[in-house]
Subunit: 335 residues, 4 copies
């Protein structure tokens, strides 16, 4: 049994981690901590967990980590790196924040000064479809962003046959913003509505562009939008094709790329969010705009799962040599 700790359990990704790890047959949740609600049972914060997880939330205490095999940090950017610096080398870390996803200069351009830049190069970007071998040996995983996961998995299979200018129009449910008490997250502001936000200014843009550019140099225009739903991301990616292609060729290319991937479902049918919600799947399909020699790739994930917490568990499985699908046989919420 792996002994795990989850730090930051009062947020949505922390909550999802708890649900996933309780369900994992080879894991024992040893330590639940948070900066708030210390001393309360977790089921006081999330009444849905009553009789499921009534464990007490502990304070964040560095002495508690030595007994753990792995710790999940579900903390805000900035807070996470501070703790990671202290824990590195003592326990394997899966960090769900953005703190170790980007090289120092890029991170500091989009976020804030980095407190332990030397650690960045130790971190492995935790997208198993990309970095499985490196993840196996990693001490510190930078778990990918939700938009980045959906976008990279959409574009990656076609990277060698598309032009370098890529447009990604992404749409996310509101849990992507967490439980923040903001007026624009009130029900009355979101229900029956829809909007774009941070166009060409969202911090997942450099993450997508940087990660893809490790393979082929690309420029990404990224525009996220807010859906009046709780869970799910759909990304629509647009790119010119270098050569004329037909649908059959493109489909075979996509299918072959993800042939052995347990958590990417390739289909000719266009994906829709409610088929993925509740699972670790990324559904990918595409359409061809022949007249304009352009491919339109569409991917769907559950932002809290493959976009955060279940991808973190997938990384844990890979890190510890466990069957990658263990504990991730999740059933879709639909209907």
């Amino acid at each position: 049994m792996l002994r795990v700790g989850i730090i930051g359990v009062s947020g949505f990704t922390g909550l999802e981690l708890v649900k996933l790890l309780l369900h994992h047959p080879l894991v024992e949740i040893d330590y639940l901590a948070s900066r708030s609600h210390v001393g309360q049972p977790l089921s006081d914060v999330f009444p849905s967990l009553k009789n499921i997880c009534d464990k007490i939330i502990e304070p964040i205490d560095e002495n508690k980590f030595s007994r753990l095999d792995v710790v999940f940090l579900a903390l805000p950017h900035g807070v996470s790196m501070e703790l990671a610096c202290k824990l590195f080398g003592k326990v394997r870390i899966i960090d769900l924040s953005a703190d170790f996803r980007l090289p120092k200069d890029l991170y500091e351009k989009w976020y804030k000064p980095h407190l332990c830049p030397d650690l960045i190069k130790e971190a492995v970007y935790g997208l198993p479809e990309l970095n499985r071998e490196k993840i196996k040996k990693a001490s510190l995983i930078a778990n990918p962003g939700c938009y980045a996961t959906a976008s990279i998995l959409a574009v990656l299979p076609f990277l060698d046959i598309i032009e370098s200018d890529i447009i990604i129009d992404a749409k996310s449910g509101v849990t992507g913003a967490g439980k923040s008490l903001r007026e624009d997250l009130l029900f009355s502001e979101i229900e029956s509505s829809f909007k774009a936000y941070s166009p060409a200014k969202h911090r997942h843009q450099p993450e997508i562009e940087y990660t893809l550019s490790l393979f082929e140099s690309v420029n990404v225009t990224f525009v996220p939008h807010l859906l009046p739903i709780n869970r799910g991301i759909l990304a629509t990616a647009y790119a010119g094709l270098v050569d004329k292609s037909d649908e059959e060729f493109l489909f075979e290319k996509l299918e072959k790329f993800y042939l052995n991937e347990p958590f990417v479902r390739v289909s000719k049918m266009l994906p829709q969010i409610n088929n993925c919600t509740g699972t670790n799947f990324c559904d990918v399909s595409f359409a061809l705009d022949k007249a304009n020699k352009r491919i339109i790739i569409i991917s769907v994930i559950d932002n809290l799962l493959k976009g955060a917490s279940s991808q973190a568990v997938q990384n844990m499985n890979v890190m510890f040599g466990i069957n990658e699908e263990e504990g991730l046989d999740l059933k879709p919420y639909y209907p």
Copy 2:
């Protein structure tokens, strides 16, 4: 391993049964049948199941049942009893329809002529909190209706201290109506709306009144309403108190009643639907209207789970002497 069959897999309760039984460690799904979509993989009907259950839907064939330990009938009223008549004695049956929930006369008053009335007395009403001992030995389970489950579990603990006139105002998500292609189930008709339907004429009224009256003679006024959500039922039950009571007494009574029940969560906090969705729990709480000497009991379930398919699995566990919670460690969907 129990070998199970699910008949009627193209509806929502059939779909939920598939998801639950795939998740159950002591079960092997041997036979999936339906009256429609025969020959197609189940994941063609429900694309959410791609790579999860691509099993082919078979026709309903009486010869296939002898090899099974138990069969779930997720068929419409009327269709179900026809098949149950033929299978009775050959395989243990859990029937999710209304066909065996009521005595002959009451059934025929509210539904239609019964095809095998002699079988009704063989059937056990599958509410484990009520009939656990009988369920253990049953050959035929009449799995309770969704509204009936929520309503009975709300009222039962207080039955000996309330007056006989009970009002139940219930509210359900739209999956209760299944996947029927009806104009009033279109998104445009339900979104941002709410309505009552079949007031004092809904067929779960006799089920509730009959079941409760086995213990204390009661009269039930039942009015269901349609919520603009997919899953969940909240029932608000109103009854006069025979004697003056205080909240502490009532809470202790409720708590004691469900003390050993693994799937009823009693709380002083009022229940809400999103805390139950995705689980087999029934959440129950109450308020006291002192001025009017009246108790208001509120219960919540997931209509497709404790209100149908997971309750059916709970019944299966009881019937076969399996740990009652096996395969039912479901995590709430929230958020």
Copy 3:
């Protein structure tokens, strides 16, 4: 042209008043004031009003009222009475708060100490279907609560033939709670969910009971619930019938009661929220539970309109001898 002022324009009822009064052919909005956002155009607070109402929000200044014919107070309870005390006699007042709806003792039991109890008896409860004649001459209107409007209009026609114990199970959209920044009003907490709140403790209960009891002494059990929609209330009222009645008799009674009422629509079809949203209508229908000699009355309103702002305009029309329907020819939002 009537010169009107609206105080409290940064809340939802204030916003609705602005939209309605802009649309009213005999009204000129002279004065928009609020305790917050002073100096900003109203369209900064509500961008939907851009190019529709870019008027500057003024501070609340007692000197501004003398030039007005009527002032609408869309302020919180407690704040409203303070201002009303000062303005009474100088300008006719339509108060949308609860401050003048109840006798002193009842008000102080459910709310807080009253600052100008002498004024209460000067106030007319502004339900035109009940008090049209008094409203004509009133200096101070206590505009009814949203739940109270729906509930009273449902029960009133049957008051002389029902027993005194009445149960009202009401369901409201979230705009009833205004724009408060509360965690339980976040999209993630309300979407796909439903709950009861303040059962038998809601402050509209005494308003309903007191108003109905002016005609027949009744006891009301009142339980409100929160719907995952923005607008609309549906109230389901339950009461025993003194004598046996048939549906035809009850329908005629209902129809006759509202025969000349322009804003109550009586129908045999059960009402649903999306047929009323956007209008000043109250839709009323009923069902008969013959077995239990009980009537179930169902009413629907738009909580922000007939439940607040358009009813206030209806009161203004009556007060000033204007055609009661003037400016209230609103078209339903559906679809």
Copy 4:
């Protein structure tokens, strides 16, 4: 008073026309016809209209048109042109279908053989912001498609400074699909979900590309998506800038372009659907992706209003020399 007829009143655009024209001070609705529900009051089809429009639905009868000044055809593609052929020259026609929006060859490529191709050149594309002068004299208006309206109004102001390759990622509420009884329009399939449909194959693509290309030759990739809301379209358009530009220059250009347009609201704030719902406005804003020298233009409309019925009324006003804003002082639905 203009005497108008509305043909096709049992659909959503017909319903919206009725509501708008009842509200229009210079119009008398003389004739309501439909292919279905003939002989029933319109309020039987749409109970929301009870006491608002109980007029009887008449059959479509060519003899009824001579007395009218203008007729609105809210009919499906193909059906509309059949009737328009017969009526042309006898009454001015505003056709909400696609039948006269495209040149013959383009129409027949995307739709079906045209029954009266000679009439196409008589038709004026009814986008007042583009064709006001021609609309004044038109006998036949081809009222633009909903996606086309949002897309063209977004791109038009920048057409002379952008490259020819344009990508439009559009998102619409479900009323765009009308009231069709289709499984994919059921509440259970749309709630909490989102999907793309007809990528690069939607019939508004040629309409957008053709209309824009009258000014500058462009290639449009168009991908629509389905939002879990009833009303509203948000279009996100992407195009490369020919020259480097800054935000101030682009904003002034946009503002100047729509300076005198009563129904286009230009803002630096990004538009969101609930600010437009219920009105004839198109809200337009943009963002600049400097790194990629690309503009991102975002527009919002109510698909049933500026995207269909209120734009048709705007066209009527222009055709008859009425103040263009007459009857269109609509108030946003928000909240």
